[in-house]
Symmetry: C3
Subunit: 335 residues, 3 copies
């Protein structure tokens, strides 16, 4: 949507260096921008691209303004400012209200008039779909679910049952909420399934990535609090609680009944064992394994990066002989 730099500066509280009547109609990287594009400079590593950009305007920090060859929108946090402006320049798609003829809505369900149900959607018994909700093609919302206003289910999402979602959530394809947790009791005859009778509670402003799974609680709910961001292919087991404004990158796995505090950030493929508690403001670097409570905010890590396979094999062999090394040092000390 074309918009003038003047209007952007006013709406988002930037100082504008340049012609307020210039219009932008798209976003681009500094390198690929053209005269219709809005771009930004946030990470100093890309500063060298600034002098040659052909964008209509660049969002950047005041101290970088002098180096801009084009109009500049000055902001202390160019990345957050870009996020807000890009949502105006490239708005999310809108959907006409209505229920597609191929959608199947249970007679006991309630769907707001302003909601849009795409082809092949299924809505189960007693579920309630709020205002302006978009339920994309192939999405299945099972019984006893509640979906708050302005949520978007992109396509092929499944809410199995008893999943209560706040407002403005975004759910990507293949996400599954409310499937049974992994509850099994061993007996002499083999495993018996432990019925999973809890639900899932999701707060406002949550985004859930493609093919992520959030199981229902065994007893009581699995909870994802307000403002949480979960990337693709994450696994949130039964009765986990993810604190408000935490962000989990792709392939993270959290085992059952573990509690994650507020504003935590987990890198890709972090794992946490079950029944532990991680306090607020914990950062765990990618691929780390959390195996006990964390009670102090801060950054945590624990993983070996790759090196040439032969060198690694040698180190592993030596690591495996660390016992004998300790013995050798002990003998030396005894002399």
């Amino acid at each position: 949507m074309p918009i003038s730099l003047g209007e952007l500066a006013t709406r988002f509280g930037c100082e504008l260096v340049g012609d307020p009547d210039i219009e932008v109609s798209g976003v681009a990287s500094m390198q690929n921008a053209n005269s219709d594009s809005l771009t930004f400079l946030s990470n100093p590593a890309f500063k060298e691209q600034l002098p040659s950009t052909k964008a209509a305007a660049v969002i950047l920090r005041p101290e970088d303004a002098a180096d801009s060859p084009v109009a500049a929108l000055l902001h202390a946090d160019p990345y957050a400012c870009y996020a807000r402006m890009a949502a105006v320049v490239c708005p999310a798609p809108t959907y006409a209200p209505g229920v597609h003829s191929s959608a199947v809505v249970d007679p006991t369900a309630t769907v707001a008039d302003s909601a849009c149900l795409a082809p092949n959607v299924v809505i189960g018994e007693r579920s309630v779909i709020g205002k302006n909700v978009y339920v994309g093609p192939g999405t299945v919302i099972g019984p006893d679910c509640t979906v708050g206003d302005d949520c978007r289910f992109i396509a092929n999402v499944t809410l199995v049952r008893a999943t209560r979602i706040g407002r403005r959530g975004i759910f990507h394809p293949g996400a599954v909420l409310g499937a049974d947790g992994f509850g099994n009791a061993m007996t002499p005859e083999g495993w018996i399934k432990v019925p999973q009778v809890g639900g899932v509670t999701v707060g406002d402003d949550v985004e859930i990535g493609a093919n992520t799974t959030i199981d229902c609680g065994a007893i009581g709910d699995t909870v994802v609090e307000d403002g949480v961001r979960i990337d693709n292919q994450c696994m949130i087991a039964h009765n986990v609680r993810v604190g408000a404004h935490s962000a989990l990158a792709a392939q993270v796995g959290i085992a059952g009944s573990t509690t994650i505090g507020k504003r935590c950030m987990f890198g890709g493929r972090v794992g946490a064992v079950g029944h532990i508690s991680i306090c607020d403001d914990v950062v765990v670097w990618g691929a780390g394994v959390v195996s006990k409570d964390i009670t102090e905010p801060g950054a945590y890590s624990g993983i070996f990066p790759v090196e040439p396979a032969k060198a690694w094999a040698k180190k592993v062999a030596r690591f495996r002989r660390i016992d004998s090394l300790i013995d050798r040092v002990k003998r030396l000390e005894e002399k």
Copy 2:
């Protein structure tokens, strides 16, 4: 479903301490239980919650009975007893037999009269659906599949082709059985696909988690034996065999042609390389990597938990210099 303590005690062989006419109609944790709830005490870590529970009744070990403030159902294995009773108090949903008008069943397929096919189900050529099977919304069962009696496909499950499933299986959303294995032959012109012509064989009483994938065999079948439990987001590659009553937690990955014995338990995100054999009764702790045969039952592990990022970085640096440490010890020894 409301049921009296007397009937529960009789059906499941418990001694009852309390009024047999008390009825329970739900299950809850000891903390959240009310006067309609059945609860249980299995893990001693939760024993402190017992005296204050407001449940109708607690399932517990005989030695804990004296501490119960409410009626008690005594059993040597309270968790397994709870699993059985909860299945009666909170029974799985039942489905009226019939084929929804939006389901598409190939004329050469056979569907039992007692089966229920939900909206948007697709059943392929020559497939056979047994008695009382529930095929949830959006599920696709491709050609040449056989589904035993009393199976349940929750929603959006895919059986690609040639998948033979026993009785009483439960398949959660996003599970994919029978997709092609990863078979590629390198040639000077690039990869050539190796046709994957085997199928998948699944025994009785198997449960498969959300977004888990079980590929078809390259030649011959991938096999999941009776009573196996597989959690969400697991990957079972072509020609793997998972032995009876084994349980794999979430995000486990088993590479091609590996055999897992009976009654094995793999923690979350365990990985196993291809073409190896793991004997019966092996436990692998979460995130462990199995890279060669295991021939002795027992517990296996191999992973570093996280610690504060700076301390970890220091240790990794030192580990990487372990060579020089060994050299220094050698020189000391030579003196």
Copy 3:
């Protein structure tokens, strides 16, 4: 499809030792083959199975021909030769052109007459489906996608939007291409979503596994070049580039903006952090973590396999005390 050994030898450039009129109609392992089966011997580890095979014919290297009890097709690369012949003996299914009555095609989309759209397929605005394409049941192709000739979407695949695919691609169930990347800007009010406006570009002859996710670019496209093979449950983040003819095994995760060269091979569950560059012809062993640029072709590794849990716990404890070991050696050296 029955075919004579004579015809196979001629079409694929093999020397035939045996009767050219023998027909094969299926493929099997050497052990399970019968008189209708074509089999092969590639991995020397299986050579002991050759003398007892009951196959109609074996594809093998010339030097193994003398040991074959049955007809032999001689080829320097028996596995690649098997891949080609198996595709003739067990051809991929074919589909009659046409659009199933339950498919929903947007009026602005273009679908080739020779394409087959299965039940419950949805095709979005402005998308173009090429010749002979098979779009399997439940597949959703969103707006602004282009699918080249001869692609196959097995079932329940999702292309979210702006995904451009070359020819002859194969996409397995649950794969999601074009979902939003994980772009979030932290502000005092919590995370703000960074609009993800790029698309996905996929080359010719690409195969994408079940439940794999390939996100759209933040700005500009995520790119998968010609001939790439990606197994199940892989995660390709926004603006990654995967070079031609590379192969990624199951559960691999590649973080945003990382570039992988041509002909790379990543084992199962390899991870790569974001914003790095991996050169051509790099092999990373299973479960390795790539945390910085790789500029030299070769094999890389970095992971600890499991060992008995007690022995491992002891080693970890000692590794954690490596500092004190270094100190002890230092003190010894000072004496």
